[in-house]
């Protein structure tokens, strides 16, 4: 899977789960302030990403530090690279 494909899968999964407008989903978008997620949504974000990529997310500290969509992209890309 190319980097672009990974990013596309992240964005489409999150867009579906949280009913986001793809136009708002820029890498700089703050997931709380710009995309309107809250702390409860991060629980479901982890489930969605685990389902989309078939991996387990155990880095709770790293998840807590996520602020932007770009942070999610980097976090997932790193895990995908580690696993491959």
């Amino acid at each position: 899977m190319t980097e672009q494909e990974v990013i596309e899968r992240i964005d489409s999964s999150l867009a579906e789960e949280f009913e986001l407008d793809r136009a708002d989903m820029t890498p700089e978008a703050n997931i709380y302030d710009d995309l309107g997620l809250d702390s409860l949504d991060t629980v479901d974000m982890v489930i969605v990403l685990e389902g989309a990529f078939d991996f387990k997310i155990r880095e709770e500290e790293a998840v807590r530090n996520i602020r932007t969509l770009g942070d999610i992209h980097r976090f997932v890309l790193e895990k995908v690279t580690q696993n491959s």
Binding site: E17, F18, E19, L40, D41, V43, D44, V46, I47
Partner: protein
């Protein structure tokens, strides 16, 4: 003491998802009872149930629905309808003087789903963020509070099948005492086999599977049990003077609320319990029993329950009772919602100019005292109404309504 006006109603019911459809079904005596094939497969003694059809869940976003079981979404939809009818805007209700009180005594499906997920996934985080809020019996009021942003009373009330009746009664009391200016109140009931399987196991449901529409037959000699149903019902109660002042259309007045408990058995109602609630409600209303021109009975179509209510009714009204119908003959028993839906149904009838019949009442039960059961739709509106509801454990509610 303040007077209490009814200024808005809304309902999602097996008879329809709006006031006109529900009114038409009540007038025509149409049943909403069906056979659920899944219950047949699962070995239910009775697969009969009320069913909500064609409900549009997109009234709320997926994110908003994540913390809501289906019955809380139904409650939202009928509350929005009731608020629109009352002409109350967001600004009118986002204050300390507006409350939410709903009757609810289970949220079974969410509890089942979260346990199933954990057993499968072996980690709690896989359950997701919504189930904790979906699984609480206060799910309706906590969700409606975040959606409507009211700031006053906010709680759910659990008293089995009288939950909805007590919720409306308590809401009226808060207004009467000057502690709230308006309360959205009502009740909601889930409809899924998971929430009904243990009740089915008691053998209390009608087994008249070949004739679903004839299965619920309160007070009839051939009644053989209740049919479970559900949905959601909302009533907007307001301080009468304030409703008048803002020019609201006043649909009716809640004149009295009475409550009692049996201090008796878990599942068999007593011969005086609900009569004490009716007397208390009548006392508060200032009406005499003889002035009541419609009694919306609790009667669920069980042999023992209907018999007990019949005795209780005669204790209050004597041998000449007001016209009586149990609308459960059409809706089945809406359980936690039923005490609230009776208020909505009665208000619909007052608005639309009729009194619904107790369908399927064909053969009077010779073991019961004589009651004036309505066999055919009466083509004039009720004006002074008593709504009864009673729950497991012997907890009773009676409401007195007036329409002009």
């Amino acid at each position: 003491m303040h007077r209490v006006a009814i200024t808005g109603i809304g309902i999602i019911s097996c008879l329809g998802n709006d006031l006109n459809s529900v009114g038409l079904a009540l007038r025509e005596g149409r049943s909403g009872v069906v056979v659920d094939p899944e219950r047949v497969e699962l070995g239910f003694r009775s697969p009969l149930t009320g069913q909500i059809r064609d409900f549009d869940f997109s009234v709320l976003s997926r994110k908003q629905r994540k913390s809501m079981p289906d019955f809380a979404v139904w409650a939202y939809a009928c509350a929005a309808e009731a608020l629109a009818m009352a002409g109350l805007t967001a600004a009118d209700i986002q204050n300390d003087q507006t409350g939410l009180i709903y009757g609810c005594d289970s949220s079974c499906i969410a509890a089942v789903e979260q346990v199933d997920t954990l057993r499968e996934k072996k980690e709690t985080k896989a359950i997701g963020s919504g189930q904790i809020f979906r699984s609480m019996t206060s799910s309706i009021t906590m969700n409606l509070n975040t959606l409507f942003q009211t700031r006053g009373a906010c709680w759910s009330l659990s008293s089995a099948c009288s939950s909805g009746g007590h919720a409306i009664g308590q809401a009226a009391d808060l207004i009467r005492l000057g502690r709230q200016e308006r309360v959205l109140c009502g009740g909601a009931q889930e409809i899924n086999w998971e929430s009904m399987c243990s009740f089915d196991g008691l053998g209390a449901f009608s087994a008249r599977v070949d004739e679903p529409a004839a299965a619920s037959r309160p007070f009839d000699a051939d009644r053989d049990g209740l049919v479970p149903g559900g949905g959601a019902a909302t009533v907007v109660l307001e301080r009468y003077d304030l409703a008048q002042k803002r020019g609201a259309t006043i649909l009716g007045e809640l004149l009295g609320y009475g409550f009692s408990s049996d201090g008796g058995q878990l599942s068999v109602p007593s011969e005086d319990g609900i009569s004490r609630a009716m007397r208390m409600a009548l006392d508060q209303s200032g009406l005499m029993a003889a002035e009541i021109d419609y009694l919306c009975a609790h009667a669920t179509s069980t042999p023992a329950g209907d018999a007990a209510e019949a005795i209780n009714i005669c204790k209050v009204f004597g041998p000449k009772t007001p016209p009586i119908s149990s609308l459960k003959s059409m809706t089945g028993h809406e359980l936690w919602m039923s005490g609230a839906s009776q208020v909505v149904y009665s208000t619909i009838m007052a608005q639309q100019g009729f009194i619904a019949a107790n369908i399927n009442y064909q053969q009077p039960d010779s073991a019961l005292p004589e009651l004036n059961i309505i066999r055919e739709t009466i083509l004039h509106p009720p004006t002074k109404v008593v709504c009864n509801s009673a729950g497991f454990g012997g907890t009773n509610s009676a409401l007195v309504l007036a329409f002009s």
